[in-house]
Symmetry: D2
Subunit: 378 residues, 4 copies
């Protein structure tokens, strides 16, 4: 950290989300990648040998000659961000946390654990308060684990958050049309989506139904209390490269006008915007009024891929309102979400690094002091 | 009708649904096409000159040299089936009915009129009883108008029908993923669906929300009474050629087990099956238990395109059950639906032709006698 | 063979081409499937347990309870047809041939061997005469190996055959746009073809360039002599489920009119048509004159998937003529090709079965007697 | 031009290419849009009323309130850039040129006229010398017409240019796979490309075959002499949003090694790079060595959409070499091409504006002085 940047190790660096980490962190003002790790046969090779770059644009030059290491401590870094496959994530991430590294993970292994924050900085920054319990329960010292939700869940939860905060949500019915990049590479066989829709994504419906309630729930006395409303999710894979779309109906606790709903969505700002976190979009939610928006190809890159776009907001015959929300599944729904979490942790002074010392210089963390007062965002 | 077949005129013969009429009636045992009409600049040309054939397989030979006529009476036929564009359908179809022709229409113009049946033979064959009122009110003699619903509505309504009949439906929330052929040709611009989903289909949501209630409603004293449950529809266009998929949640009036729901769907048989109508599928509803079905490319042609396929039947967190239903939008959802209606009318002895005489020989209508007893299908 | 049918074992039965074999042989008049084998972990399971059916329509009932066996002799059958993956095909197919089974293979392992026919019955039925050399060289008794070409090669070769026979070809330049089903399942990752074209198919260009010359070459004194013209192939994968399209330019040895070219293509009939083989299309080549045909979705199923369709036939600025040819890659290009080969072998009396006795009753093989006279088709 | 910028009027401003003009000129250092015109029913409306914005990102704010005018002089601007439909382009563009405006056009009307430059600044900047003949022949004063080629032609011609300059080309065989955006909006019906390839693009093959030869030809004594090699083009529409791919075989006049070919392509720099024109890419041609590149989704945006990418460079069995070249059809192939032409004209001091005075301040045109020496680029 000679340059004052937090030194980051990427777990799962050769996968699609791992590549997004490398891309998004290449020119980050506060983070620099110092280690790449992967669980596959790429260990010992250079990143350029081990990894077929699958994002638009070229592999960042800095990463090409880095040697891919096993996803086990020690790694030469202050923190690790992880997009390991779920079958190896649990053991690897736990090992890093135990070895003193803050672990900021996109994997699903720990998301629903009772002492692990399922963090969307706009929504539940206060859930980080569970980390004391986590450390004490698991015997972690400087290390800990913070997760972000499933891709479609993040996108929907962002649209639900201001409505739940202002009006109270009583029920949510969500139907997704999800992009193929959500399954990584090789991921979805083309025969499943050419002239076709696949009405099944393994594990997705229960994830949306359970994670949403934890995200929008409360942390009371270091215990999570789920949001009190049920969520129903039907998930479909469509012939789209990037961009998850969710058709949503909501039942609200209060009678409110459609203008109030629209305003609550369009005016939504929260902790990342206040802290001016590097990856935070100016508008977490963009509301469009055209009759045929949002569309994946047109709206997925809004806000650098970190904004979600809401459209088709109408009163509903059965519930109160309906709308469609869309976001970039591998940016806001995965790699960008993890990085935004890291940025929040850094701003909160929680990136102590494995040495127990702050992983960034105080001068670069002006957001630390006021953080406690902002801890309760809802 | 020298060969005992009902002589059919096609209105809108050059469009996509019109071409399906020509294809499906080519070898029909009880109907023969004797006139082709269209509203566009094709009048006076032969069908092969006027019409670029857009279905798999070649234009049927019998049709090639037929001259396309204006969609105005008289036409040399006993009945007309219509897929005219909605802007010209109303005047043209009314003119034919007034001139004495039974009009069996796929157009939307008359669907919601209070004296017009919105017919799905499996569901509401008894709605034909409104025809007396229609004739008297409009001063028709031998002519009348019978319509079939919108494509996505038919597909969903077939799955709802046995559930409403057995258990009572209290609410329906439907989210569609619809094929591009539903918009005809040229129809949906490719830029709207390549790597994209379009969350808007003009007029589709209100059609599904209103038509479903009329279809599943009751005819009492020659007046339609809507089914008492609300319907919410969100409609999307996806990159699929044929096959509309609908993700459905239902709230039922009774507590029933998932086995009862599955049995009600899988065992569904009704009037067209009893009458062995030529176009009727043996199984109006096919229930599949694989985790990833139905799929448009795999299931749209089930039952010759006249069956709908239900899968992903599960208990729902918010409503009682959820499932996905899929059907072929231009066969069961359009041309096949209209032809099945014509077959029912013929079996019921209602195809009198413009002369007032039966448009088929009595010997070919064995289903007529028992028809009254079967009139109330629900 | 109690019912007089040839008893067939399928090697690679669980793959996409293996499933096509099962589908195409279900109601075959002369063949019946008596054994299913696969190289993967499905051995010992029933076919319905081992195999996720990926073709439109349901798995044939007869196959469901059959137990999948290892692809090693003995199998309870007279002949084997194979679509094994190329890495296991060589050893397995050789073992079956050595054990006395005629092996009719879609795999690439033996295609270019100097004693193995690369058979397209319309083009080079006389190449079967190499089998004597094959048996003697390899020490086979009743067994032998016959192969069919690569999918895109078959489709192009059918269009080249009548032109080479009548006018002589001097050079061929071919550019393909190939369907994803050609790579099997899971095959091509959807991210490679959504809003994309992949300009690379492993091994395809050299296959087209070498196989074409063997197919259209001559068998002289039991030695293959390649056709004397060079072939250039550039191969691309496009977002199409089924149907390979090839844009072709040809340089001919003679100056001929475009009408002569069209007639040579459209009038093409050969051995399978003369023998009325069950799977043989009436027209191996269909020539269409519309400006925008052939198209995969419209033309791939022509002739039950066994015809190829030629269109866009024009004089060329650089070579003599150009055209586009399209065919169904998993039917004419794979499973149907293998079965047509089996039908030819049966008609020629070459299906002796592993016992050395004819694998079909003489009464069912009327084509045997005249076969020698027809042996030289070109 | 109070701020020293050239004042631009857009003809065809509401179409897809017109929207690209608006997008690309929004922040241009040397041009500003001062008039919008269109031939359709949008005249008299504001641009935001008249135009459904179909590009990713929002309509530039500056354009929203501008009123769309008829495409007839006078317009309040120094020059016009045009993407009018070809049926109206000829009369409108001629009228502007006659009225004194430099007309820089993407339309096809004048491309092949014997006194009109068909300009690609990297290739034939010297063709601008024909403008004197044009003005004198047509009686233009300060006005003139400069065109850019068809989209697929530009992309291919860029790859051919250095090879023709260094080695001499003797023949070209090109097979295209073109994106749907090339046809504008609504353009290609989705039914034509879902699970399909369309082997026909109206007028495209003759355009590629004739325009290429003019572009790569010579201007001698104010007369164009076509490049002496024949071009064969087969054109196909595939299910891709943006990015035209061309599979190319070339026959060269000299025997050269593949390294020489690769170097000629990769090292290509020309007039726009020397003049540092704002829209000029640093590398007009990017050569990639991966086995599966270029791909439309991965490579179309290279160089801001102004570079073309070459890959799959191999010796060819029939001709000398083959390769695949890909470029962004609406940027390098249309709007960006027109703007680059405008930038070259400005740098050459040829944007006199309708008043006959330079349409830019001398201080902003440092490239003018050395321009004559660079006028002959080949």
């Amino acid at each position: 950290m000679s340059n004052g940047k937090v030194r980051v190790g990427i777990l799962g660096a050769t996968g699609m989300v791992g590549q997004r980490f490398v891309q998004l962190l290449e020119k980050h003002p506060d983070f620099e990648i110092t280690a790449l790790a992967a669980s596959d046969r790429s260990q010992g090779k250079t990143y350029s040998e081990a990894c077929t770059w699958r994002l638009v644009g070229d592999m960042p030059a800095f990463a090409k000659a880095m040697v891919v290491q096993p996803p086990q401590p020690p790694l030469d870094c202050d923190i690790v961000v992880s997009s390991l496959p779920s079958d190896v994530a649990r053991a690897s991430e736990e090992a890093f946390a135990r070895a003193g590294y803050p672990v900021i993970s996109n994997a699903s292994s720990f998301r629903m654990d009772e002492d692990v924050p399922l963090l969307i900085p706009e929504i539940n920054a206060d859930h980080l308060n569970v980390l004391d319990r986590q450390k004490s329960k698991r015997g972690f010292t400087t290390g800990y684990i913070v997760t972000n939700p499933n891709c479609s869940t993040i996108i929907m939860a962002l649209a639900l958050a201001p409505l739940h905060a202002k009006f109270g949500i009583e029920a949510v019915i969500a139907t997704t049309m999800q992009a193929v990049s959500g399954a990584g590479y090789p991921g979805v066989p083309s025969l499943d989506v050419v002239d076709n829709v696949l009405p099944f994504i393994d594990g997705e419906e229960p994830k949306m139904e359970s994670e949403t309630r934890k995200i929008l729930g409360r942390l009371e006395n270091s215990a999570f209390e789920n949001a009190p409303f049920p969520v129903s999710a039907q998930c479909h894979r469509v012939n789209v490269a990037d961009g998850h779309m969710v058709a949503v109906r909501i039942k609200l606790a209060k009678r409110v006008s459609i203008e109030e709903v629209r305003d609550a969505l369009a005016s939504y700002r929260s902790v990342p915007q206040e802290l001016k976190l590097h990856t935070a979009p100016e508008h977490p939610i963009i509301v469009r009024n055209e009759k045929d928006r949002p569309q994946p190809r047109m709206d997925r890159d809004a806000g650098g891929g970190m904004s979600v776009t809401v459209g088709r907001l109408f009163p509903d015959n059965v519930f109160d309102y309906r709308f469609v929300v869309l976001g970039h599944n591998t940016i806001r729904g995965a790699a960008g979400a993890t990085i935004l979490n890291a940025e929040l942790l850094r701003a909160r002074g929680l990136l102590l690094g494995k040495s127990g010392a702050p992983a960034q210089s105080p001068a670069q963390a002006p957001a630390q002091a006021p953080a406690p007062a902002q801890a309760r965002v809802r």
